[in-house]
């Protein structure tokens, strides 16, 4: 297995810590004038999303993690797994509930997603930055209000709930920013 020495550490490097894939966020060298150097490393566990910190004696080695980001098309959810396909090779991947959990409310069939693979298995999914969804439930609101002042909750076809302007009606399609979970505009 490939290894990295601490002197190769930099932001974005993927390595294994206790068997789990991690990505370095920040690497700072602690080098006393007359002493052993250390690397103070802040990293994210890619399975749990938790940010952790360790101090590595310089010269230590860690195992490289086989982690790649790939663009895959979301096909369908069979109730247990979320299925994706590489549109070029037609290779299919199935992601567990854990990998999709946080973003399942933004998953739309046929959309292209960034899927992080660890040893060939999806461990996390990033949906498109903006998605278009239909409003399935919301208060009728005020007919004349087109200025967008104020707002009301609306339930979308995937179950997501976002704040929308008062003029948005059931059956309309809206564009939503998936990173912030915020309404952007009405879809034409």
């Amino acid at each position: 297995m490939a290894t990295y020495s601490t002197n190769e550490f930099k932001a974005g490097l993927k390595f294994l810590m206790d068997g789990q894939p991690c990505s370095i966020i920040e690497n700072t060298i602690v080098q006393p004038g007359k002493g052993q150097a250390f690397n103070r490393v802040k990293y994210r566990n890619l399975m749990t999303g938790r940010v952790l910190e360790n101090t590595f004696k310089s010269g230590e080695k860690v195992d490289a993690a086989d982690v790649v980001d790939t663009e895959l098309q979301y096909l369908y959810n069979d109730g247990e797994f979320w299925h994706f396909m590489d549109p070029e090779t037609f290779d299919q991947y199935q992601a567990s509930e854990a990998a999709v959990a946080d973003v399942s409310k933004w998953m739309i069939e046929q959309d292209m997603c960034t899927v992080t693979l660890f040893n060939g298995q999806p461990i996390s999914v990033t949906p498109p930055k903006q998605v278009t969804l239909e409003v399935t439930e919301t208060d009728p609101g005020l007919k004349g209000d087109t200025a967008g002042t104020g707002g009301k909750p609306a339930t979308l076809s995937t179950g997501a709930v976002v704040q929308v302007p008062l003029f948005v009606q059931i059956g309309e399609k809206v564009i939503v920013n998936t990173e912030k979970g915020e309404y952007v505009s009405r879809a034409k």
């Binding site: 052993q36 150097a37 250390f38 952790l52 360790n54 004696k57 010269g59």
Partner: protein, 332 residues
């Protein structure tokens, strides 16, 4: 227009001027005390054996030599300055570039500016006072405190006697202070756990006097970390070595200097043995220095090296020493 370093043309000019003023202030400090500026060579056929210092090297073509000769770029001007002291130079200082391979962080650059000086007849405490005086000239009238290595462990880490404390005690201190888990250090490696307590727990408190920026002089390091400092006559478990901290950052490292050639050779040989043990490349020892010391031992003196880029960063409240340089190594 902001340039790559994020500076506007105006603030760039301003910063260059401030740095120029700092260098002028430092030189004036020594000229006023009749300390001679020396311009020692950067290249030397000898290297530095210290296991924690990595010198850059280059190959030099000399007439009459079939092969290019390996020369090392100095990591500090210490060896040639000591040869000058042996030869009767009197008080001297060096202000210029030095090089340390692999050191790059907000507080480090591969190529950086060092101020190093030697004062004949000065004890370690005399020199500590002079360093504090110099820093006050640059940083303003800061409070100064001196604390021994052992007392610092007592005050900031709650370790009664660090010299007899166990590795386990040091590990417990790190844990109690929520220091991130350490990878790659043997459980019983007392010296390294002790170093971590110093850098992770104690140092952030140094250079802060009553919560405000101040000058902390940490002295009497363990004999193990003596480098080229004399051991204390009254207490051979400590060395007459000190470091200077301002705002949690180490600024300078000084010694009451070893004098005789035999002790230098012993310490050099010990470092070479340690290099071999760690699988680091060996380096040719500075035989010119050893010969100079054999011919005439170093006059009783104390010497100190100070990081000028760090000093400038402190004076200008910069987060990264690179911001105070014309160009860092990645912009050079």
């Amino acid at each position: 227009m902001p340039n790559k370093a994020g500076l506007t043309t105006h603030s760039l000019a301003d910063r260059l001027k401030k740095r120029s003023q700092l260098v002028q202030t430092l030189r004036a400090f020594f000229y006023a005390r009749s300390v001679t500026e020396v311009d020692t060579p950067i290249l030397s056929a000898a290297g530095v054996p210290d296991v924690h210092l990595h010198a850059l090297s280059t190959e030099v073509r000399l007439p009459g030599e079939a092969q290019r000769q390996r020369f090392y770029l100095h990591t500090s001007p210490e060896y040639p300055m000591k040869r000058l002291l042996c030869a009767g130079s009197g008080d001297i200082f060096y202000l210029g570039k030095v090089f340390r391979d692999g050191d790059l962080s907000p507080r480090h650059q591969i190529e950086f500016t060092m101020l190093e000086w030697y004062r004949i007849g000065f004890s370690m405490f005399d020199l500590m006072e002079e360093v504090a005086g110099l820093l006050k000239t640059v940083l303003g009238d800061l409070a100064v405190e001196s604390i021994s290595y052992q007392d610092a462990f007592r005050r900031y880490a709650g370790v009664e006697d660090i010299f007899t404390a166990s590795a386990e005690t040091c590990r417990a201190v790190l844990k109690a202070h929520q220091v991130a888990d350490v990878v790659g250090v043997d459980a019983d490696d007392k010296a390294l756990w002790e170093q971590l307590v110093l850098t992770e727990v104690i140092e952030p408190n140094l250079g802060l006097v009553e919560g405000k920026m101040g000058i902390t002089l940490l002295y009497h390091y363990p004999a193990r970390d003596a480098a080229l400092a004399q051991l204390c006559e009254d207490d051979p478990q400590v060395a007459e070595r000190f470091e200077v901290f301002v705002n949690g950052m180490e600024l300078a490292n000084g010694y009451h200097e070893l004098a005789d050639a035999d002790t230098y050779r012993q310490r050099f040989e010990a470092s070479l043995a340690q290099r071999a043990e760690l699988g680091l490349p060996s380096v040719p020892l500075d035989e010119n220095l050893l010969q100079a010391l054999e011919a005439r031992p170093l006059p009783d003196c104390s010497g100190v090296a100070l990081g000028v880029d760090r000093l400038f960063a402190l004076q200008q409240a910069l987060n990264n020493i690179q911001q105070g340089m014309a160009f860092g190594i990645q912009q050079a």
